[in-house]
């Protein structure tokens, strides 16, 4: 029976944080497809040691593509590894995470295999012999449902939109090394620079995020966002308008083209709720909106809101939180 191939990158010799949800959705889909076998391709540098940790997640087989190069693997090498895995497994469905290098890898792989692809999906279901793939379009203003008529079908999954499997199964995956064909070396990785969050938790893992938008008025007012985040032990986020204006670095951008976040508490100050921003916070469990425009889109997504000038609201809010948290 044609199976499901999951492709995961290992970053910095660690499994990507989204691996568990990729495998969770992959195994659920395989069950809906009548118990299709699940194979994971683990590709990266020095990843051999990570293979055994995938068995208890319900995976039948792990292919390990270990890069021996001194530099991080190039996009071409990852593509060659993915293509080799697809040719060996002949799966019906290939899933990747829509983040980091996998975003482009999915599309490049699909075209290499002459397959259809839907990117950045937020839900999958099986209807008859079709996999129905839900994907937000127009920056999240609308939802589209697609099916793919080729085999394999390639889908990239939006980070944090899918659940990982809670209960580990007693199982061991069969681990096999995958040999990756030589590439022509047209792309050479000179170096990889990882940006570390300066203080506090990293945006995409944070339980609490305080984000600011253009409504703050200017970079001089940004400190109110930072102060609030600091008091709550949270991370700082920003809208694209703010990062484009250069008030804060692009790495703080939350939204369609920035980070996808899923905190328990997401506090917005001066954010109108443009669809580009909303697309990145669909996983946030409790949104708080402070905005002077009662009709702002953000209030549709908020659990709590205050309408008014942030300059009057936020200092009192911050002060009271300080008192409450002792």
């Amino acid at each position: 029976m044609p199976g499901v191939l999951l492709i995961t990158e290992a970053a910095g010799e660690q499994l990507a944080g989204t691996t568990a949800e990729l495998i969770g959705e992959g195994t659920r889909l395989a069950q809906q497809l009548g118990g299709a076998p699940v194979t994971v391709l683990l590709a990266g540098k020095n990843v051999q040691g990570l293979a055994s940790s995938l068995g208890p997640l319900g995976v039948d087989q792990v292919l390990v593509a270990d890069s021996q190069a001194p530099t991080p693997p190039s996009p071409q090498w990852l593509l060659a590894a993915a293509e080799a895995a697809a040719k060996q497994i002949q799966p019906d469905v290939i899933l990747l995470t829509h983040a980091g290098g996998s975003r482009d890898l999915g599309a490049a792989l699909a075209y290499r295999l002459d397959s259809g692809i839907v990117t950045d999906s937020t839900a999958l279901r099986v209807e008859g012999s079709d996999v129905i793939i839900t994907k937000p379009v127009f920056g999240g203003s609308a939802l589209a449902e697609f099916s793919i008529s080729s085999s394999p079908k390639v889908v990239t999954l939006r980070p944090r939109a899918f659940e990982s499997d809670e209960a580990p199964v007693a199982g061991e995956a069969q681990v096999e090394a995958l040999s990756v064909p030589e590439t022509d070396g047209a792309i050479e990785v000179l170096e990889e620079i990882r940006e570390q969050a300066t203080t506090g938790p990293r945006l995409k893992d944070a339980k609490v995020i305080v984000s600011g938008g253009r409504g703050l008025g200017g970079p001089d007012n940004w400190k109110v966002v930072e102060e609030l985040a600091q008091i709550l032990g949270g991370a700082v986020g920003a809208t694209r308008a703010v990062t484009d204006a250069g008030w804060v670095p692009p790495s703080l951008q939350v939204g369609l083209t920035g980070a996808t976040v899923a905190p328990d508490l997401y506090i917005t100050i001066g954010i109108s709720g443009a669809v580009q921003h909303i697309a990145g916070i669909s996983g946030a469990r409790n949104v708080v909106a402070i905005n002077r425009d009662a009709d702002a889109n953000i209030f549709k997504y908020a659990r709590f809101g205050v309408v008014g000038d942030w300059k009057q609201i936020v200092p009192a809010f911050t002060q009271r939180l300080k008192e409450l948290r002792g």
């Binding site: 259809g116 203003s141 080729s150 000179l190 508490l265 008014g308």
Partner: protein, 262 residues
């Protein structure tokens, strides 16, 4: 350096969500009255990057777009910004097609244009948010591709050094030419068309190519759009009110504590 830039005309992404409507029967967006479609944002950054490379190294910038009659306006804007030539791929059979067919058509058009050193595309379009067509073009043309690119650090006649955005950081890559890059918005600020450019755009002849011109009759897609809809969303916000906004701020903090969120 001869550069081809792919551009797409999209509905203005700044349409307020309340004005955004779709026709579920035809699975299309209903264009709001009085709002003109625009050049896809990332494509404008790709064009700007091409114009900068041309200023630095010489050569020619050609823009290609696939779309209905109105896409001509976007090509004119590209010429106004400084592109030397434009080609419009316009055929009902292609305009409604899926991304796999779009990639094939644009690749065929680029091939028909002749020799080039570099193809630049936006990293994704703001309507479909797919981010895949440019990678398909690269595959069809047999080009190495890098995406999303936030900086072109160095350029010579046969290679580029670029920065590619990855999770939590970026990679510096050396890419042999010819190649294709998917451009992200961090790279530059697209210029406004100068008056001279606007006049050039007015005079420009833009050839139109059909599926037959590209040898693509009967092309069939692989991805089917089954349904397009807007999720209805009931506001369930609890608005905190008080005599003064300061008090509302305090009350908000108390509410969050009550809900055990802080």
């Amino acid at each position: 350096m001869d550069i081809v830039v792919t551009v797409k005309q999209v509905p203005d992404p700044d349409i307020p969500p309340t004005h955004f409507k779709v026709d579920e029967a035809t699975k299309k967006v209903i264009p709001p009255a009085g709002v003109s479609p625009v050049m896809n944002g990332y494509d404008a950054h790709a064009l700007e990057a091409a114009l900068k490379l041309k200023e630095q190294l010489g050569g020619k910038v050609t823009v290609v777009s696939l779309g209905g009659d109105s896409a001509r306006d976007t090509l004119k804007r590209a010429i106004a910004m400084g592109a030397d030539a434009a080609v419009h791929v316009n055929d009902p059979a292609l305009n409604e097609a899926d991304s796999t067919t779009t990639a094939r058509a644009l690749a065929a058009a680029i091939k028909k244009l002749g020799a080039f050193d570099l193809v630049l595309s936006g990293r994704q379009a703001s309507d479909t948010d797919g981010g895949q067509v440019h990678l398909g073009i690269a595959t069809h043309l047999g080009l190495p591709s890098v995406s999303p690119v936030q900086k072109i650090e160095a350029a010579t006649a046969d290679a580029l050094v670029v920065e590619r955005i990855v999770e939590d950081g970026y990679q510096r890559l050396k890419v042999r030419l010819p190649a294709l890059l998917g451009i992200s918005s961090e790279i530059n600020e697209p210029r406004y068309p100068p008056l001279k450019g606007i006049m050039a755009a007015g005079r420009a002849q833009i050839p139109v190519w059909t599926a037959a011109d590209l040898g693509l009759e009967g092309a069939s897609g692989k991805v089917q759009l089954r349904r397009l809809f807007v999720e209805t969303r009931e506001a369930r916000v609890e608005l905190i009110e008080a005599d003064t906004l300061e008090d509302a701020g305090k009350k908000l903090a108390d509410k969050l504590r009550e809900a055990r969120l802080v």
